[in-house]
Protein backbone atom coordinates (compact mmCIF):
# COMPACT_ATOMS: atom_id res chain seq x y z
CA UNK A 1 0.00 0.00 0.00
CA UNK A 2 1.26 3.50 -0.83
CA UNK A 3 1.17 5.76 2.22
CA UNK A 4 -1.23 8.66 1.76
CA UNK A 5 -3.56 11.10 3.48
CA UNK A 6 -7.34 10.87 3.52
CA UNK A 7 -10.10 12.98 5.05
CA UNK A 8 -12.54 11.40 7.51
CA UNK A 9 -15.25 13.53 9.10
CA UNK A 10 -13.24 16.66 8.39
CA UNK A 11 -10.07 15.33 10.02
CA UNK A 12 -6.92 14.34 8.16
CA UNK A 13 -5.86 10.69 8.60
CA UNK A 14 -2.71 9.00 7.33
CA UNK A 15 -2.71 5.56 5.76
CA UNK A 16 0.65 3.88 6.38
CA UNK A 17 2.44 1.42 4.10
CA UNK A 18 1.48 -1.69 6.05
CA UNK A 19 -1.93 -3.21 6.62
CA UNK A 20 -3.79 -1.73 9.60
CA UNK A 21 -3.74 -4.20 12.48
CA UNK A 22 -6.57 -4.83 14.92
CA UNK A 23 -7.20 -3.97 17.70
CA UNK A 24 -6.44 -0.25 17.42
CA UNK A 25 -5.89 0.16 21.16
CA UNK A 26 -3.44 -2.10 22.97
CA UNK A 27 -3.64 -2.03 26.75
CA UNK A 28 -2.73 -3.84 29.93
CA UNK A 29 -3.91 -3.21 33.48
CA UNK A 30 -1.55 -2.91 36.44
CA UNK A 31 -2.82 -2.97 40.05
CA UNK A 32 -0.56 -0.20 41.42
CA UNK A 33 2.50 1.94 40.83
CA UNK A 34 5.62 3.09 42.64
CA UNK A 35 6.50 6.78 42.55
CA UNK A 36 10.00 8.23 42.31
CA UNK A 37 11.28 11.79 42.36
CA UNK A 38 14.68 11.89 40.72
CA UNK A 39 17.09 14.83 40.90
CA UNK A 40 20.07 14.54 38.55
CA UNK A 41 23.07 16.77 39.37
CA UNK A 42 25.04 19.16 37.18
CA UNK A 43 27.19 17.50 34.51
CA UNK A 44 25.23 14.23 34.78
CA UNK A 45 24.57 12.32 31.57
CA UNK A 46 20.81 11.85 31.87
CA UNK A 47 20.58 8.36 30.35
CA UNK A 48 23.42 7.09 32.55
CA UNK A 49 21.99 8.81 35.62
CA UNK A 50 18.49 7.46 35.10
CA UNK A 51 19.63 3.91 34.40
CA UNK A 52 21.77 4.00 37.52
CA UNK A 53 18.76 5.11 39.58
CA UNK A 54 16.64 2.32 38.11
CA UNK A 55 19.27 -0.43 38.37
CA UNK A 56 18.33 -3.03 40.94
CA UNK A 57 14.71 -1.90 41.21
CA UNK A 58 11.92 -4.33 40.44
CA UNK A 59 9.84 -2.81 37.63
CA UNK A 60 8.62 -3.64 34.16
CA UNK A 61 8.51 -0.13 32.75
CA UNK A 62 7.93 3.44 33.84
CA UNK A 63 6.40 6.66 32.61
CA UNK A 64 7.20 10.14 33.82
CA UNK A 65 7.70 13.82 33.30
CA UNK A 66 10.52 16.33 33.29
CA UNK A 67 9.41 18.70 36.04
CA UNK A 68 12.14 21.34 35.84
CA UNK A 69 15.81 21.87 35.22
CA UNK A 70 18.44 22.85 32.71
CA UNK A 71 20.93 21.39 30.31
CA UNK A 72 24.43 22.28 29.19
CA UNK A 73 24.27 20.14 26.06
CA UNK A 74 21.56 18.24 24.23
CA UNK A 75 20.66 16.63 20.95
CA UNK A 76 17.15 16.26 19.57
CA UNK A 77 15.35 15.18 16.41
CA UNK A 78 12.38 16.48 14.44
CA UNK A 79 10.21 14.69 11.88
CA UNK A 80 11.26 15.10 8.23
CA UNK A 81 10.14 13.69 4.87
CA UNK A 82 12.18 10.85 3.33
CA UNK A 83 12.58 9.21 -0.08
CA UNK A 84 11.41 5.85 1.32
CA UNK A 85 8.01 5.22 -0.24
CA UNK A 86 7.00 2.81 2.51
CA UNK A 87 8.17 5.10 5.33
CA UNK A 88 7.88 8.64 3.99
CA UNK A 89 8.36 10.35 7.37
CA UNK A 90 11.17 9.73 9.84
CA UNK A 91 13.39 11.56 12.27
CA UNK A 92 15.95 13.86 10.62
CA UNK A 93 19.50 14.68 11.59
CA UNK A 94 20.10 15.71 15.17
CA UNK A 95 19.76 19.35 16.19
CA UNK A 96 22.54 20.01 18.72
CA UNK A 97 22.40 22.77 21.34
CA UNK A 98 25.00 23.89 23.86
CA UNK A 99 24.79 26.01 26.96
CA UNK A 100 22.02 27.49 29.14
CA UNK A 101 19.07 25.36 28.04
CA UNK A 102 15.90 25.61 30.15
CA UNK A 103 13.31 22.81 30.13
CA UNK A 104 9.66 23.85 29.93
CA UNK A 105 8.04 20.47 29.30
CA UNK A 106 8.92 16.82 28.89
CA UNK A 107 7.56 13.28 28.87
CA UNK A 108 9.45 10.05 29.35
CA UNK A 109 8.78 6.34 28.87
CA UNK A 110 11.17 3.69 30.17
CA UNK A 111 10.49 0.69 27.98
CA UNK A 112 12.34 -2.56 27.33
CA UNK A 113 14.31 -3.66 24.29
CA UNK A 114 14.07 -7.16 22.83
CA UNK A 115 16.64 -8.43 25.33
CA UNK A 116 14.80 -6.89 28.27
CA UNK A 117 17.21 -4.01 28.83
CA UNK A 118 15.75 -0.56 29.67
CA UNK A 119 15.05 1.64 26.67
CA UNK A 120 14.46 5.38 27.12
CA UNK A 121 11.96 7.33 24.99
CA UNK A 122 11.69 11.06 25.66
CA UNK A 123 10.05 14.10 24.08
CA UNK A 124 10.73 17.53 25.56
CA UNK A 125 10.38 21.26 25.07
CA UNK A 126 13.05 23.76 26.04
CA UNK A 127 14.41 27.27 25.48
CA UNK A 128 17.93 27.96 24.31
CA UNK A 129 20.16 30.77 25.60
CA UNK A 130 18.52 33.23 23.17
CA UNK A 131 15.00 32.36 24.27
CA UNK A 132 14.29 30.39 21.11
CA UNK A 133 11.79 27.55 21.61
CA UNK A 134 12.63 23.99 20.66
CA UNK A 135 10.72 20.75 20.96
CA UNK A 136 11.15 17.21 19.73
CA UNK A 137 12.54 13.74 20.31
CA UNK A 138 15.33 14.03 22.86
CA UNK A 139 18.35 11.72 22.92
CA UNK A 140 18.95 11.14 26.61
CA UNK A 141 22.44 9.68 26.28
CA UNK A 142 23.50 13.01 24.71
CA UNK A 143 21.76 15.16 27.33
CA UNK A 144 24.04 16.71 29.95
CA UNK A 145 22.49 18.46 32.94
CA UNK A 146 23.59 22.09 33.27
CA UNK A 147 22.83 25.38 35.06
CA UNK A 148 20.59 23.66 37.62
CA UNK A 149 19.68 20.09 38.60
CA UNK A 150 17.18 18.22 36.46
CA UNK A 151 14.10 17.00 38.34
CA UNK A 152 12.03 14.11 36.98
CA UNK A 153 9.00 12.29 38.31
CA UNK A 154 8.68 8.60 37.48
CA UNK A 155 5.76 6.19 37.86
CA UNK A 156 7.16 2.64 37.93
CA UNK A 157 5.04 -0.46 37.44
CA UNK A 158 5.67 -4.17 37.22
CA UNK A 159 3.95 -7.18 35.58
CA UNK A 160 3.54 -5.03 32.45
CA UNK A 161 6.21 -3.51 30.23
CA UNK A 162 6.39 -1.25 27.22
CA UNK A 163 8.40 -3.62 25.03
CA UNK A 164 9.86 -2.65 21.67
CA UNK A 165 8.45 -4.69 18.79
CA UNK A 166 8.35 -4.23 15.02
CA UNK A 167 5.10 -2.67 13.82
CA UNK A 168 3.91 -4.06 10.49
CA UNK A 169 1.59 -1.11 9.81
CA UNK A 170 4.06 1.79 10.21
CA UNK A 171 7.34 -0.12 9.65
CA UNK A 172 8.78 1.38 12.85
CA UNK A 173 9.98 -0.45 15.95
CA UNK A 174 7.60 0.79 18.64
CA UNK A 175 6.84 0.31 22.31
CA UNK A 176 3.92 -2.04 22.96
CA UNK A 177 2.35 -2.84 26.35
CA UNK A 178 2.82 -6.53 27.18
CA UNK A 179 2.35 -8.64 30.28
CA UNK A 180 5.62 -9.89 31.71
CA UNK A 181 7.37 -10.61 34.97
CA UNK A 182 9.34 -7.73 36.47
CA UNK A 183 13.09 -7.78 36.09
Amino acid sequence: MTPHFEQRAGVRVFIHGGEPQQPRLLDCEVPASEELRVVLPLACNVAEGLLKVLAGRRYGSAVGRILCGGAAHLSYHRMVTTQDQQRPYDYGQAVVLDGYITFVSGALTVGRDAAGAPLLHCHAGFLDRDGQQHGGHLVLDRLIVGSEPLVLRLCLFDQVAYQVQPDAETHFNLLHPVFQEAS
Partner: protein
Protein backbone atom coordinates in the same frame (compact mmCIF):
# COMPACT_ATOMS: atom_id res chain seq x y z
CA UNK B 1 -16.14 24.06 30.48
CA UNK B 2 -19.64 23.35 31.87
CA UNK B 3 -18.31 22.09 35.19
CA UNK B 4 -16.54 25.36 35.96
CA UNK B 5 -19.51 27.42 34.81
CA UNK B 6 -22.08 25.74 37.08
CA UNK B 7 -20.02 25.16 40.24
CA UNK B 8 -20.12 27.96 42.82
CA UNK B 9 -18.29 26.41 45.79
CA UNK B 10 -14.93 24.70 46.11
CA UNK B 11 -15.01 20.95 46.30
CA UNK B 12 -12.38 18.85 48.03
CA UNK B 13 -12.21 15.13 47.53
CA UNK B 14 -9.78 12.86 49.37
CA UNK B 15 -8.79 9.59 47.81
CA UNK B 16 -5.93 7.69 46.25
CA UNK B 17 -4.61 6.54 42.92
CA UNK B 18 -5.56 3.00 41.90
CA UNK B 19 -5.07 0.84 38.84
CA UNK B 20 -2.90 1.85 35.92
CA UNK B 21 -3.91 1.32 32.30
CA UNK B 22 -0.79 1.09 30.15
CA UNK B 23 -1.68 1.55 26.49
CA UNK B 24 -0.56 2.15 22.94
CA UNK B 25 -2.74 4.01 20.42
CA UNK B 26 -2.24 2.87 16.84
CA UNK B 27 -2.34 5.33 13.93
CA UNK B 28 -5.44 7.47 13.35
CA UNK B 29 -6.87 6.97 16.86
CA UNK B 30 -8.01 10.10 18.73
CA UNK B 31 -6.48 10.72 22.15
CA UNK B 32 -9.65 11.71 24.06
CA UNK B 33 -11.89 9.10 22.46
CA UNK B 34 -9.24 6.43 23.09
CA UNK B 35 -8.67 7.47 26.71
CA UNK B 36 -12.40 7.32 27.41
CA UNK B 37 -12.69 3.95 25.68
CA UNK B 38 -9.82 2.59 27.78
CA UNK B 39 -11.44 3.79 30.99
CA UNK B 40 -14.80 2.32 29.99
CA UNK B 41 -13.28 -1.05 29.15
CA UNK B 42 -11.53 -1.19 32.55
CA UNK B 43 -14.54 0.06 34.53
CA UNK B 44 -12.83 3.31 35.54
CA UNK B 45 -15.06 6.35 36.04
CA UNK B 46 -12.34 8.94 36.64
CA UNK B 47 -8.67 8.77 35.70
CA UNK B 48 -5.65 11.04 35.45
CA UNK B 49 -3.06 11.01 32.69
CA UNK B 50 0.25 9.71 34.04
CA UNK B 51 2.08 9.44 30.74
CA UNK B 52 1.48 10.62 27.19
CA UNK B 53 4.19 10.45 24.56
CA UNK B 54 4.08 10.10 20.79
CA UNK B 55 3.16 12.01 17.66
CA UNK B 56 0.04 13.40 16.00
CA UNK B 57 -0.90 13.78 12.35
CA UNK B 58 -1.98 17.36 13.13
CA UNK B 59 -2.70 18.91 16.53
CA UNK B 60 -6.02 20.66 17.00
CA UNK B 61 -5.97 22.63 20.25
CA UNK B 62 -8.17 25.40 21.57
CA UNK B 63 -8.54 27.83 24.46
CA UNK B 64 -11.23 30.06 25.90
CA UNK B 65 -10.89 33.58 24.50
CA UNK B 66 -12.98 36.74 24.82
CA UNK B 67 -15.28 35.57 22.03
CA UNK B 68 -15.51 31.89 22.91
CA UNK B 69 -13.28 28.97 22.09
CA UNK B 70 -10.39 29.88 19.84
CA UNK B 71 -8.74 27.19 17.70
CA UNK B 72 -5.01 26.54 17.46
CA UNK B 73 -4.14 24.47 14.40
CA UNK B 74 -0.67 22.90 14.44
CA UNK B 75 -0.01 21.30 11.06
CA UNK B 76 1.93 18.05 10.80
CA UNK B 77 2.39 15.30 10.22
CA UNK B 78 4.68 14.39 13.05
CA UNK B 79 3.53 16.88 15.66
CA UNK B 80 5.39 15.67 18.75
CA UNK B 81 3.60 15.41 22.10
CA UNK B 82 5.90 16.98 24.71
CA UNK B 83 3.47 16.64 27.59
CA UNK B 84 -0.10 15.55 28.13
CA UNK B 85 -2.12 16.14 31.30
CA UNK B 86 -5.68 16.22 32.55
CA UNK B 87 -8.59 14.07 33.67
CA UNK B 88 -10.59 11.43 31.89
CA UNK B 89 -14.32 11.18 32.65
CA UNK B 90 -16.75 9.80 30.12
CA UNK B 91 -17.99 12.64 27.90
CA UNK B 92 -16.36 15.29 30.13
CA UNK B 93 -12.63 14.70 29.70
CA UNK B 94 -10.40 17.74 29.69
CA UNK B 95 -6.86 17.21 28.45
CA UNK B 96 -4.11 19.74 27.82
CA UNK B 97 -1.03 19.24 25.72
CA UNK B 98 2.25 20.91 24.89
CA UNK B 99 3.31 19.94 21.36
CA UNK B 100 6.02 20.78 18.86
CA UNK B 101 5.75 21.01 15.09
CA UNK B 102 8.36 19.73 12.64
CA UNK B 103 10.28 23.02 12.94
CA UNK B 104 10.57 22.61 16.72
CA UNK B 105 8.08 25.39 17.50
CA UNK B 106 6.07 24.83 20.69
CA UNK B 107 2.30 25.19 21.08
CA UNK B 108 -0.01 24.51 24.01
CA UNK B 109 -3.73 24.27 24.61
CA UNK B 110 -6.77 22.12 25.36
CA UNK B 111 -7.24 19.12 23.06
CA UNK B 112 -10.26 19.18 20.76
CA UNK B 113 -12.20 15.92 20.92
CA UNK B 114 -11.95 13.68 17.88
CA UNK B 115 -9.32 15.81 16.12
CA UNK B 116 -5.96 14.74 17.59
CA UNK B 117 -5.11 11.50 15.85
CA UNK B 118 -2.07 9.33 16.48
CA UNK B 119 0.42 9.52 13.61
CA UNK B 120 2.77 6.59 14.30
CA UNK B 121 2.14 5.75 17.94
CA UNK B 122 1.10 7.23 21.27
CA UNK B 123 2.14 5.68 24.57
CA UNK B 124 -0.70 6.58 26.93
CA UNK B 125 -0.79 5.64 30.62
CA UNK B 126 -3.84 6.43 32.74
CA UNK B 127 -4.36 5.94 36.46
CA UNK B 128 -7.65 5.49 38.25
CA UNK B 129 -8.73 8.04 40.87
CA UNK B 130 -10.47 6.36 43.80
CA UNK B 131 -12.31 8.78 46.10
CA UNK B 132 -12.65 7.78 49.78
Amino acid sequence: MNLAATQTESQVQSGRLGRLVVARLKPNEDIIDSAEALCASHGISLAVVRGGLGSLIDAELHYLGRSGMQDIHVPGPGVEILSLSGEIALGESRLQAVVADADGNIFAGRLQRGRNLSFITIELTLQEWLPD
